[in-house]
């Protein structure tokens, strides 16, 4: 009983990995019809954009879908120094020769993997443009430096994630990029789903603890407009539940998992702790 990730723990492995027989599906609790949408989009090989706040399950959803569709998943976490070379590939010197090395996107295009560009807005604009030709009917990746083009493998699919609001107005996807995608909106799951997630993600979580954590999360998210850049995520709730399951008292667990990480503002932390204390009073 292993997930694909567990199979390869502590070992170097290629970024393109297909799920193997005997692997266990990653846990995912559907919030709505996102599975059906993804499957339909995959049938037509349309690129997908996952929108939603940090820690609401976008990446997990993709892992789950990749497993269900039996496709390898290549994840690239974008950052502000990420250039098109980092995606497509570059010439490297090897001894006296220059050799071309494929970037992760090229690898995925060739292998027919699902390529996941996480937080795409963080990347430089020149790198977002290279995906244009991949996202329309052409399904081609042009490798300018080599003067080549690759027609994508028939199973190749591009998925990007995009977190509106998190970035400043200065960083936004160009409309011409955005409108090439099927967009699925994610939000924090409903209370019932979130409770289920906690209980399934962290074995040994008591239903009433899950219930309290979820209630705290709901209230904490109301403070988003008071200066929190990111609201309390489902992931944070899972962490809190894990800390409780590992023996920490609930109030401390909530503090270290749900309050301290998201704010340095003493007053905000105070307000958040007030919510925690009220529930565990």
């Amino acid at each position: 009983m292993k997930t694909a990730a567990a199979r390869q723990r502590g070992v170097e492995h290629d970024i393109v990995q297909s799920p193997q027989v005997g692997d266990v599906s990653p846990y995912y609790e559907p919030q709505g019809n996102e599975v059906a949408i993804f499957e339909a989009a995959y049938k037509r090989r349309l690129p997908i954009m996952l929108k939603g706040p940090t820690g609401c399950g976008k990446t997990r959803f993709l892992e789950y879908m990749a497993f269900q569709l039996k496709r390898p998943l290549v994840t690239v976490s974008c950052h502000e120094d990420l250039t098109s070379s980092d995606l497509v590939g570059r010439f490297l010197l090897e001894g006296a020769d220059t050799v071309w090395q494929d970037g992760p996107l090229t690898r995925a295009v060739k292998a027919g993997a699902i390529c996941y560009l996480d937080e795409i807005v963080e990347a430089r604009t020149d790198s977002t443009v290279v995906i244009h030709s991949l996202t329309d009917h052409r399904r081609k990746l042009s490798i300018e430096k080599k003067g080549q083009e690759i027609d994508a493998h028939e199973d190749f699919m591009l998925v990007i994630s995009y977190n509106p609001g998190y970035q400043t107005v200065l960083k936004d996807l160009k409309p011409s990029t955005k409108q090439r995608f099927i967009a699925i909106n994610f939000d924090f799951p409903s209370e019932e789903v979130e409770r289920k997630v906690l209980v399934s993600e962290v074995p040994g979580t008591k239903p009433e603890v899950a219930q309290q954590l979820v209630a705290i999360g709901r209230k904490a998210r109301l403070l988003k407009d008071h200066g929190l850049e990111e609201s309390t995520s489902t992931r944070a709730l899972v962490y809190a539940a894990s800390m409780i399951a590992a023996g920490l008292d609930p109030v401390s667990a909530c503090q270290v998992a749900m309050v301290n990480p998201i704010t340095d503002d003493a007053e905000l932390a105070d307000a958040l702790m007030e919510i925690v204390n009220a529930h565990f009073a």
Binding site: T83, A215, L222, H226, A271, E274, I275, A278, H279, A281
Partner: protein, 835 residues
């Protein structure tokens, strides 16, 4: 009674002197005689001497003697002390005070203590007889405090000698305030309070004396700032966030005019606004109170329909419009109004707390826990407190109380609370509850977080039609009211003591006994006048650093943002002409400095593209058998030069001076400098704003924005620059804080605050203490840096080397030796800084 001949002789002489004195003396004499003939004769002589010295003094001495003898069980010492008063003129008031208090001095301080008490007083009489009188007239118990002995008195008076010698502060102005400060804040607070006052006294006699009498706003704010407990004033944001979390939506939160002598601090509401006191006992009580008060607003205490129903039950007319006074509801109970009010509040608060519990988990448990933790209860009203506590605990200890059952239901209204209260009041249990007369006891009857609901006029809320919560309770219950009906009590008493007088309604303000102070103080004084509102006519408050106490004084300096009224286009045109050449040179220099296209960086170890030249070189070298560095990439670097700058000009009187070298006034150069700066900035293209400031006292700092960041340069602005002139003083710290705050919302990587000054920071109320505003400015600069704003000072004061390094730090200022160079230099300095 038989006396020795000597005594009889003395009595006869007194009789001769005045029949009245003889009568008074004869009444006291039997208590004195047992101390022996010598003491008695001395005492009689003292009576005679003091009476001859001053009639009132003698009578006061004789009248006070009996009690003094009773407590001290001696005669000679205090007789001697009384005689000492004869060395000062017009000392009868002091002696009167002495005789009134000497017995209590013996009682509370003991014999040694009394001696010291008298000595201190005598030393004041010698200094100034009014001060001595004020000292002796102050009850000993007040001087010494509750537990204090003679040391407490010495401590209380320790700052006074200095104050008198250096500032001629009389004891009469000092004592009352000092005693209150000690009672509220403890003995250690007296000294800082007094030394602060000494500074204020120096700036003005009336202002200083008002401070010492605790009548001025600054002394009150000083008091509130030092009160022990949980400070709500600084936590407005936290309170708002908590309300948002638990109840959702915006609440109007304001600081009330509460001050320590008004008794227990409460959070209150009038149905529209939540008023919180500056300080509450502890955090838990404050939060419970906040939630409870918000519960009143969300739990429909002020629902018009429900209130109307309640008034109908009480057979009272409900006002058609405007704010509603609660008073008539309680007036019908006459002297028993407070008692009924407590019962009613227990019911209504319980109902509201049940509402709060539905939103806030564990609220009732916390409330009960806080109530238990409180421990002390006022003896008079403990049964009310316990009843309230029991009613809460009935919610979770399984012993449901039928009297309160309805109040826990979701659809219950204030009318239900009224009915429940009437039922309890008329029932046996209600009759067993003790009467309440004392306001302090009344206040102490409330559970932590709860407060008298009738403190303020109520603003009824209109019912939303879609609310399903609203249940119309059956009208048949009305029958069971055996009330004293429409009989209106004559006495204009009411239980209401809060802020009245809104909407011009002068209600029956006087209230129970000692609460009159509260009502009188607060009536007619609306909360809007309070010192702590974000922005108003008073402007925007900023803290100020007091180096003497190493702490910030909250809301100390007030900045008013204004527009410069004067503008002078002629002057601007003249300057433009005069400096046309200089401007041309500047613009050229700026253009040549402007970055064109971002040039790629070549020969990088890492990059987006290969640097072909480098590759060729690399390969060639490699072939030649060398081992070159593989720096063969090129990379585009976008240099970000986003700078925002504020030019903040000192517009104090001193800029109006004529230049020593002739050729006009300093202000001409400043105008020219600002103008050239503005024109250069237009060329540079960075975001910039221009402002000037001046001040008169801490509460009057004017900040003139000539050009905001979001404004485009216009002739109007140019004309304003031409119209700049000097006035008043230089409170630099407040101006820097305001300028720093105005960078908020400006997107830029670097923020520069360019300060143009001609002298040191000073203001009329700095008491001649230069260091004070220096230190404050230094802190303001530190704050600015912490907020990512870099202050840089350009000054024409050639002595500035003495103080600017401390304030701005080395390298963060520039002294211009030639004032005439200012116009050219100012833009240059900026261009150098932004590099």
């Amino acid at each position: 009674m038989k006396h020795t001949p000597a005594i009889d002789q003395a009595l006869a002489e007194l009789q001769e002197l005045s029949a009245a004195v003889h009568r008074e003396v004869s009444a006291v004499l039997p208590d004195i005689v047992p101390h022996g003939e010598a003491d008695t004769l001395d005492w009689l002589a003292a009576c005679r001497a003091l009476f001859s010295f001053e009639r009132d003094a003698g009578l006061a001495f004789i009248r006070g003697s009996r009690e003094a003898e009773q407590v001290s069980e001696e005669v000679r010492p205090w007789t001697g002390q009384a005689l000492a008063f004869m060395q000062w003129r017009a000392s009868w008031r002091a002696l009167e005070g002495f005789m009134a208090n000497v017995a209590r001095a013996y009682g509370t301080l003991g014999h040694a203590g009394e001696k010291r008490w008298a000595e201190i007083g005598f030393s004041w009489c010698s200094r100034q007889i009014e001060s001595g009188a004020a000292y002796f007239s102050t009850p000993v118990i007040d001087l010494a405090g509750r537990q204090g002995g003679i040391t407490a008195i010495e401590q209380l008076l320790s700052p006074t000698e200095e104050l008198y010698d250096s500032r001629k502060l009389m004891l009469g102005s000092y004592l009352g305030g000092a005693i209150r400060v000690r009672n509220l804040l403890g003995a250690q607070a007296i000294l800082p309070w007094a030394s602060r006052g000494a500074d204020i006294l120096q700036t003005g006699r009336t202002r200083g004396e008002a401070y010492f009498r605790l009548e001025s706003e600054e002394s009150l704010s000083m008091l509130l700032e030092h009160l022990p407990g949980y400070r709500l004033t600084d936590r407005n944001r936290l309170l708002g966030m908590l309300l948002d979390v638990w109840f959702g939506g915006e609440f109007d939160l304001r600081e009330s005019t509460w001050s320590p002598e008004k008794g227990r601090p409460f959070i209150e509401t009038d149905g529209r606004t939540i008023y919180f006191p500056a300080v509450m006992a502890d955090r838990e009580e404050a939060i419970l109170a906040l939630l409870h008060t918000a519960g009143h607003m969300r739990g429909r205490t002020f629902d018009r329909v429900a209130m109307e129903e309640m008034f109908a039950e009480a057979k009272l007319d409900f006002p058609k419009s405007g704010a509603v006074s609660w008073a008539p509801l309680f007036l019908r109970y006459g002297d028993d109004a407070l008692r009924f009010q407590l019962i009613f509040d227990i019911c209504e608060d319980l109902r509201v707390d049940a509402v709060v519990q539905r939103s806030v988990p564990n609220y009732l448990r916390r409330l009960a826990r806080a109530a238990h933790a409180l421990g002390v209860r006022h003896a008079e009203t403990a049964p009310y407190f316990d009843l309230a506590l029991a009613s809460i605990e009935s919610a979770f200890n399984g012993k449901a109380d039928p009297r309160f059952a309805r109040l826990f239901e979701a659809g219950s209204t204030i009318a239900d609370a009224w009915r429940a209260a009437v039922k309890i009041y008329e029932g046996n249990e209600g009759k067993a509850l003790p009467p309440v007369t004392d306001l302090e006891a009344f206040h102490m009857a409330y559970l932590p977080g709860r407060s008298p609901n009738a403190m303020r006029l109520a603003h009824p809320q209109e019912t939303d039609d879609d609310s399903s919560q609203q249940q119309q309770p059956g009208a048949e219950e009305q029958g069971q009211q055996g009330d004293e009906g429409g009989e209106e009590t004559e006495a204009p008493k009411n239980a209401e003591s809060g802020e009245q007088g809104e909407d011009g309604e002068k209600q029956e303000v006087p209230s129970y006994g000692d609460s009159s102070g509260q009502a009188a103080r607060s009536s007619g004084q609306s909360d809007q006048e309070g010192p702590n509102h974000g922005s108003s006519d008073k402007g925007i408050p900023y803290p100020e650093w007091d180096y003497r106490e190493s702490r910030y004084k909250r809301n100390w300096s007030w900045v008013q943002e204004k527009r410069l009224a004067e503008s002078n286009m002629t002057e601007t045109n003249r300057l433009m002409k005069q400096y046309a050449l200089a401007l041309k040179r500047l613009k050229k220099a700026i253009q040549s400095q402007k970055p064109t296209r971002a040039a790629p960086l070549t020969q990088q170890l890492d990059g987006d593209d290969m640097d072909l030249n480098a590759v060729v070189a690399y390969v060639a070298e490699k072939r030649a058998g060398r081992s070159p560095r593989p720096a063969i990439y090129k990379r585009r670097e976008i240099r970000q030069r986003e700078v925002a700058v504020t030019l903040l000009a000192d517009m104090s009187t001193s800029i109006m001076q004529h230049l020593p070298e002739g050729g006009g006034r300093l202000v001409d150069r400043i105008r020219a400098g600002v103008l050239l700066f503005a024109e250069s900035m237009e060329e540079v293209g960075d975001a910039y704003s221009i402002a000037g400031f001046c001040s008169k006292y801490r509460d009057n700092v004017s900040y003139y924005t000539l050009k905001g960041f979001d404004e485009t340069m216009s002739d109007d602005i140019r004309a304003q620059i031409g119209g700049m002139s000097g006035r008043l003083a230089t409170r630099m710290g407040a101006a820097i804080r305001h300028a720093t705050a105005s960078f908020d919302g400006i997107e830029s990587r670097r923020r520069l605050l360019l300060l143009l000054s001609d002298g040191r920071p000073e203001d009329y109320d700095d008491g001649g203490d230069r260091r004070y505003l220096h230190e404050d400015t230094r802190m303001a600069v530190k704050e600015a840096v912490a907020k990512g704003v870099h202050p840089f000072c350009v000054t024409v004061d050639t002595m500035a080397n003495q103080y600017l390094p401390q304030i701005f730090g080395p390298g963060h200022y520039l002294v211009l030796d030639h004032i005439n160079s200012l116009p050219n230099k100012l833009p240059e300095i900026y261009l150098r800084l932004r590099r």
